[in-house]
């Protein structure tokens, strides 16, 4: 049995007195593509953001390749790791955001190059080669020197995915990456993600695209009110939901 890529053990997170994650347990193996579904406020995005420490969490552990993320526990005392150490751990995962979040003052290529230069310590020339390679992979070779403001939403999101993947992460996190896109631009982004899945990239996707989750995932996780209610094979779960909550959720979502 190989070591799991990602483990969450009793993950708890609260904003003030409101508990948004109430003990999430999950194990993910290398190469898995997991879609996280659930209504808004169920904790999906928060869980994703805990994995790369964009959110602090108050209880439980997250392990990537067996390495504890974000906090050290010495003699029962929990302490946040140093910023430098957390920055290094964040680079283990790549993330694509709902709002793309490209660096507006940098061209598409420079967006991809920044992390390669600053984090991976590549030379500009090396970084440029890698950036062009990944922009080619997402179909944007011709747009390398365009600025985010000159690109469509779908193109921006593809640059953002290239920026994350170019860092060669162990795991990709996709946070509702098509939710801010015009309907006709959704396809091109999903196509890129499908391609990455086919190549064996490990991925966690928070998504509202039920059809896509159904087609691309090796596993689906259904969250409700801060806990995982149900998980399993998408074909099985979508056609024969094991809980009332999931059945209701599927009925109210666009999946049929």
């Amino acid at each position: 049995m190989t070591k799991p890529l990602l483990e969450m053990q009793g993950l708890r997170k609260q904003y003030g007195t409101v508990e948004v994650l109430k003990g999430v347990d999950c194990t993910m193996r290398q190469g898995e593509v997991i879609s996280i579904i659930g209504s808004s406020g169920s904790g999906k995005t928060t869980m994703l953001r805990c994995i790369n420490m964009l959110e602090e969490f108050q209880g439980g552990r997250i392990l990537i390749d067996g390495e504890a993320i974000g906090y050290d526990e010495i003699a029962g005392v929990r302490r946040r790791k140093s910023e430098k150490e957390i920055a290094r751990q964040r680079a283990l995962t790549g993330m694509a955001f709902q709002q793309f979040n490209l660096f507006p003052h940098l061209s598409a290529a420079q967006n991809v190059m920044l992390g390669l230069i600053k984090v991976k310590k590549m030379s500009r020339d090396e970084a440029r080669v890698v950036a062009e390679q990944w922009l080619g992979r997402v179909g944007l070779s011709a747009r390398a020197d365009h600025y985010p403001g000159q690109l469509s939403g779908g193109q921006q999101q593809r640059v953002a995915i290239a920026r994350a993947i170019a860092m060669n992460p162990r795991l990709m996190l996709f946070d509702e990456v098509t939710s801010a896109l015009d309907p006709e631009l959704v396809g091109e982004v999903l196509q890129v993600i499908k391609g990455l899945a086919a190549e064996g990239m490990s991925m966690l996707l928070v998504t509202h695209e039920m059809r896509f989750a159904y087609e691309v995932s090796s596993r689906v996780i259904f969250m409700n009110q801060g806990v995982i209610v149900e998980q399993g094979d998408p074909k099985e779960m979508f056609l024969r939901p094991g809980t009332e909550r999931l059945a209701e959720f599927l009925k109210s979502s666009s999946f049929q």
Partner: protein, 220 residues
């Protein structure tokens, strides 16, 4: 009205005025560099720094912005030596102007920092940049672009404020003009030429800033 205009005396001393103008520009430039450094650090403290940094930063901005700059100049030059801090008049004035500008620039930069979208910083974190790398590669470059228009007016104010250095006999433009005035009695001529020099210089500074703005503009 027995006054006939005669610019000859002013032209004879024109190199003095130009020398004064040059010194004014120098004073403003040095004060801007030091003031911008102060302003940047204070702005970061004001916008989300820990309380032990934010409180002193707030105190600094409040005190300095509520003091007339002339009082500040006189205080630094005449009162500080009594406390054992003795500075020559040029450094004394530059330091005062820098501290004064720092308080205004801190507010300008703070507004700029708040305009940098959170998502951009998060995207920086997500690729593994450290908080300091995010500041230098993302936050400051974006903030500067946002504040360039207000920076331009601060720079022009700063340059005009150098005229107050005349109060402590720093030989900048206004001081030289007053000297020529006293020596030649060509009152209207001296102050007309001096005013023109200020106006032209400010217009050139504004044009330069617009050029920088265009250079740094993000293509859309």
């Amino acid at each position: 009205m027995g006054y006939t205009l005669n610019f000859a005396a002013v032209w004879r001393s024109f190199d003095l005025l130009l020398g004064g103008l040059l010194l004014s520009l120098e004073l403003a430039a040095v004060a801007l560099v030091i003031g911008a450094a102060i302003g940047l650090v204070v702005a970061f403290a004001l916008a989300g720094g820990p309380a032990f940094l934010r409180r002193p930063a707030q105190l600094y901005v409040t005190v300095i912005r509520n003091l007339p700059i002339l009082v500040l100049i006189l205080f630094t030059y005449f009162a500080l030596p009594q406390l054992g801090i003795r500075l020559d008049k040029n450094p004394s004035f530059v330091l005062t102007l820098a501290i004064y500008a720092g308080a205004y620039l801190a507010e300008v930069f703070r507004a700029g920092l708040l305009s940098v979208p959170r998502g951009v910083k998060e995207a920086g974190l997500a690729i593994g940049l450290t908080p300091m790398q995010i500041r230098t590669s993302l936050v400051v470059p974006l903030m500067i672009r946002n504040v360039l228009p207000s920076l331009s007016s601060t720079l022009i104010s700063l340059f005009k404020d150098t005229s107050l250095a005349a109060a402590i006999a720093v030989p900048e433009l206004t001081f030289e003009a007053r000297k020529i005035n006293v020596e030649t009695f060509r009152v209207i001529e001296v102050w007309t030429v001096t005013s023109a020099l200020y106006v032209v210089t400010c217009a050139v500074l504004a044009a330069l800033m617009r050029l920088i703005e265009r250079r740094l503009a993000i293509p859309k």
